[in-house]
């Protein structure tokens, strides 16, 4: 069986500096994978390589293969628009556009040429419901998304990604800029989404990783030290370094 996302021998260099040193870490369909590890362990670099957000950085060199449904995403004929529609991304800092909530959610669809108002209305409702923010915003969909709280903004950003129906959702520390209550709402949202989407999230919060993820990968110094079921990683890690990190002895 082919994996949904297959990564083999991935190296990333920033100039001369090797940030990722040969990573093999693949993903099946569904579930949440948490990427943990100390700061500077290149987990974000890894995440951003999966939807080619690293392309923009000057002096970056990427070698190895990343196959999405068997297709090499770094092949020259890859259409970035389609790729990023399939592999959506949510960032650390909530970044709604300075438009209305409604316009934020339909942004991707509208740009793809969707004009049918009924369909757009419907997508807005489903996406916001999936992102668990519908009840809070349904009465002011046409107000600016910037007027929402940080947690609500982040869930609108998740809805914006869901609206283009991706296969995979990448999250780069999605709750680290939020207060604990908003964080737990985001976590609940992600748990609801885990059956329909493949979710890969970078987090510095080990409790969060253990609460929501099915699988955990431990990164250190640009390498994946260990990847396994979350329970196994937290209860009975195979590597000393993983155990040290999880028990808070460094990092």
């Amino acid at each position: 069986m082919t994996k949904l996302l297959e990564i083999h021998d991935l190296h990333v260099y920033y100039g001369q500096k090797e940030a990722l040193k040969g990573v093999d870490l693949s993903f099946d369909e569904g579930g949440i994978t948490a990427l943990i590890g100390p700061s500077g362990s290149s987990k974000s670099t890894y995440l951003r390589t999966l939807n080619r957000m690293n392309d923009l950085i000057p002096d970056v060199t990427i070698t190895g293969t990343i196959k999405f449904r068997g297709q090499d995403i770094y092949a020259p004929q890859t259409d970035l628009v389609t790729l990023r529609k399939e592999i959506g991304m949510v960032f650390q800092q909530p970044n709604p556009f300075p438009f209305s909530i409604y316009d934020n959610v339909i942004f991707g669809l509208k740009l793809a040429g969707e004009k049918d108002h009924e369909r757009l209305d419907q997508v807005v409702e489903t996406s916001l419901k999936q992102a668990a923010v519908w009840d809070e915003v349904k009465d002011h969909l046409h107000e600016s998304a910037l007027s929402l709280s940080g947690g609500q903004q982040q869930r609108v950003c998740i809805a914006r990604v869901l609206a283009v129906s991706p296969q995979i959702i990448l999250l780069d520390e999605p709750t680290s800029a939020l207060d604990p209550i908003s964080s737990s709402q985001i976590e609940a949202t992600l748990l609801k989404l885990r059956t329909d989407y493949t979710i890969i999230t970078v987090t510095h919060n080990l409790q969060q990783a253990s609460r929501i993820s099915d699988r955990t990968a431990f990164f250190m110094d640009g390498e994946v030290i260990e990847v396994d079921d979350t329970k196994k990683i937290f209860m009975n890690p195979a590597h000393k370094q993983t155990e040290d990190y999880i028990s808070g002895r460094f990092g």
């Binding site: 939807n51 957000m53 923009l56 970035l80 628009v81 389609t82 790729l83 990023r84 529609k85 959506g88 991304m89 960032f91 800092q93 970044n95 709604p96 556009f97 300075p98 438009f99 209305s100 942004f107 991707g108 740009l111 002011h140 046409h142 107000e143 600016s144 910037l146 007027s147 950003c157 914006r160 990604v161 283009v164």
Partner: protein, 294 residues
Amino acid sequence: MNPKLSNRVAITVLYVIASTIVVILAALLGYIIISGLPALSWHFLTSPARAFTSGGGIGIQLFNSFYLLILTMLISFPIALGAGIYLNEYAKQNWVTSLVRTAIEILSSLPSVVVGLFGFLIFVVQFGFGFSILSGAFALTFFNLPLLTRSIEEALAAVPDEQREGGLALGLSKWETVLHIIVPAALPTILTGVILSAGRIFGEAAALIFTAGQSAPALNFTDWNPFNIASPLNPMRPAETLAVHIWKINSEGIMPDAKAISSGSSAVLVISVLAFNLLARFVGHRLFKRLTAG
């Protein structure tokens, strides 16, 4: 001197400096407006100027000022927007970019009378536009471009990078991100810059004396065909603006009420520029609120 005392001295000095500036501004504005106010009337604002007799107005000059302003903006805004987008979104940090930036800085520090003489040689003489609104608008474009470019560039730079990433992560190309997200997000600040520079253009005289000319031929305000010479919209007619009119009356005005007309024109000019400034604040603030708070 102990720290407490020196702190108090420093604050006092700063207060004095700040209030001196405010007092100077208030005195200047007060003098201009109070001495000009008696001359202001509907007749003054709408009727044409008279060269030898009293009772003339500034109607044509006022119209010319606004028309020239609009034309200048129509020419300079697209160029400045393009330059600003290029400099902030696309330009790499290399010698070409720093050359462009230096060129913009030099252009913005050119004295406006030099810009006017240059415009005279190029547009009036070389291109054969004559003393015309078009020559004036091009000269003012030179004068306006550097500051407008700079303010648009700064407005774009103030949009956080997260917005750019958000656009790209949705699969937008870089150009689509700029067009559909960054420029709209920067719009309130851009608009403020545009209105502020409009105030500067409105009050500019030196660059226009040799380009838009110093005469205000009679206009027929019922003729809106831009190809007719008497039409207000004709861009090829000479057009004395309000600021040039003030300069001219004071240097060679021979009408009996020259003093009153000059004071009245100055008041109108100052009030217009003030209005531009207030409008800039108001519109920018309103737009920002609409975008952020709904």
